[in-house]
């Protein structure tokens, strides 16, 4: 099971807690993970990736294993620790500044 941590606004939208667990088919990539997430929680469609282009929204970041994976290709394999559920895949709303 993959562990995913959502920001507060998306928790409210999907009506879930901070961390959710999902089965994601291999290979485990950003794309397959987000596809599975949106399939289970359709309310999240368009909130993390653009509806049409499927590009990451500009102010959403992806972190895992203390690395910023936001700009990785969506088809790059995620770290083994994420794929094996040892570390969460964190979806973050970037800091507003100010």
């Amino acid at each position: 099971m993959i562990r995913i941590i959502l920001p507060a606004h998306l928790q409210a939208l999907a009506n879930v807690g901070a961390e959710i667990k999902l089965d994601v088919r291999s290979p485990v990539t950003q794309r397959s993970l987000l596809d599975a997430l949106e399939l289970r929680y359709p309310a999240l469609k368009g909130t993390i990736r653009d509806h049409t282009t499927h590009k990451r929204r500009a102010l959403v970041r992806f972190y895992a294993c203390e690395k910023d994976l936001s700009n990785e290709s969506p088809d790059t394999l995620l770290p083994d620790a994420v794929a094996h559920g040892q570390e969460p895949f964190m979806i973050i709303g970037s800091i507003a500044g100010g």
């Binding site: 920001p7 999907a14 009506n15 289970r40 929680y41 359709p42 309310a43 509806h51 929204r57 102010l59």
Partner: protein
Amino acid sequence: MSKVRVLVGTKKGAFILTSDGKRKKWKVSGPLFAGWEIYHVKGSPLDPNRIYASQTSGWFGQVIQRSDDGGKTWHLPGTPSGETPKSPEGFPMGESNKFAYDTSEKTGKPLTTHQWYDGTQHPWEFKRVWHLEPSLHDPDTVYAGVEDAALFKTTNGGKTWQELPGLRGHKTGAQWAPGAGGMGLHTILLDKKNPKRMFIAISSAGVFRTDDEGKTWKPVNKGLRSQYIPDPDAEVGHCVHRIAMHPSRPNVLFMQKHWDVMRSDDGGENWKEVSGNLPTDFGFPIEVHSHEPETIYVVPIKSDSEHYPPDGKLRVYRSKSGGNEWKALTKGLPQKDCYVNILRDAMSVDTLDPCGVYFGTTGGQVYASADSGDNWMAIVENLPSVLSVEVQVY
């Protein structure tokens, strides 16, 4: 006795204010959708329990919410009210938030472009829904005005949205340019007498009218003069802040422009200035009294560079002659040290007699008058900055 429900959209959530027909004591509920920007909340004129809300975020995009019980519970259209939005297959949830510009060859065109800040052409990019206008004839049909400027429509209660591409595809579309606030379609006026006609207004392009249910559009800006564009009398490019009509007289339109308060008596074909004795004719909202089609309201703002009332005095101005002759309404409004703004969608009227008038401020107050503007009271204070105010009588 009738009840009144004021729907308030703010920078950090929505609030619902309720009262009886006397409109003296108010109950505040909220925030709904806490932390999100709520650009607009509006109910169906046919079914006051049916309410739509535009929930948006610079981080997470656009969400459309719907209530079928007067705002007690909300759901994403496609999910039955009160159920957890979890069902994986079959639900069109998620699609209810999808506003994709029409790029089909048949109904629209390949995605057109518009003028950008640096003089180049820029493709349309959806950012948010500014305004929701439920149909006068069907609670499941709603129009949505969006940024970048375009008009969308749902006929299934918000489950899916389709662009009416004739507007964006108008031959002047390439000349439209965003102002500092973005290129938003912020006003939609439906003609009660002619279901094929509607008016929309865009910052900063101007007013457009359709007479064929949105298939084709005509700019109706003749008479507007804007010194901030190269040709002050141009067909498009005017920063129209708001237009309003009385439902009984759909050919008579009133406009608060970037500067100037204007009036048209022929469905927008020609406009004339009616700023008259206003202390400043800059401002954002304009509204029409529910029972007196020649009584209109504006809130003068000092200037385009100083978005607050002149002299620190919050004054609504009312004209009972359809413009030109204006009277300041001040009773109950702060008359010193007031430096808030009132945004374009943040004023509304109810249908009771006497007519109630309501507006919200960027300082988080919502003021109401139960006597057509003669006396005012703050019915709530210290909300987040108010983006929109709508009123229902039920």
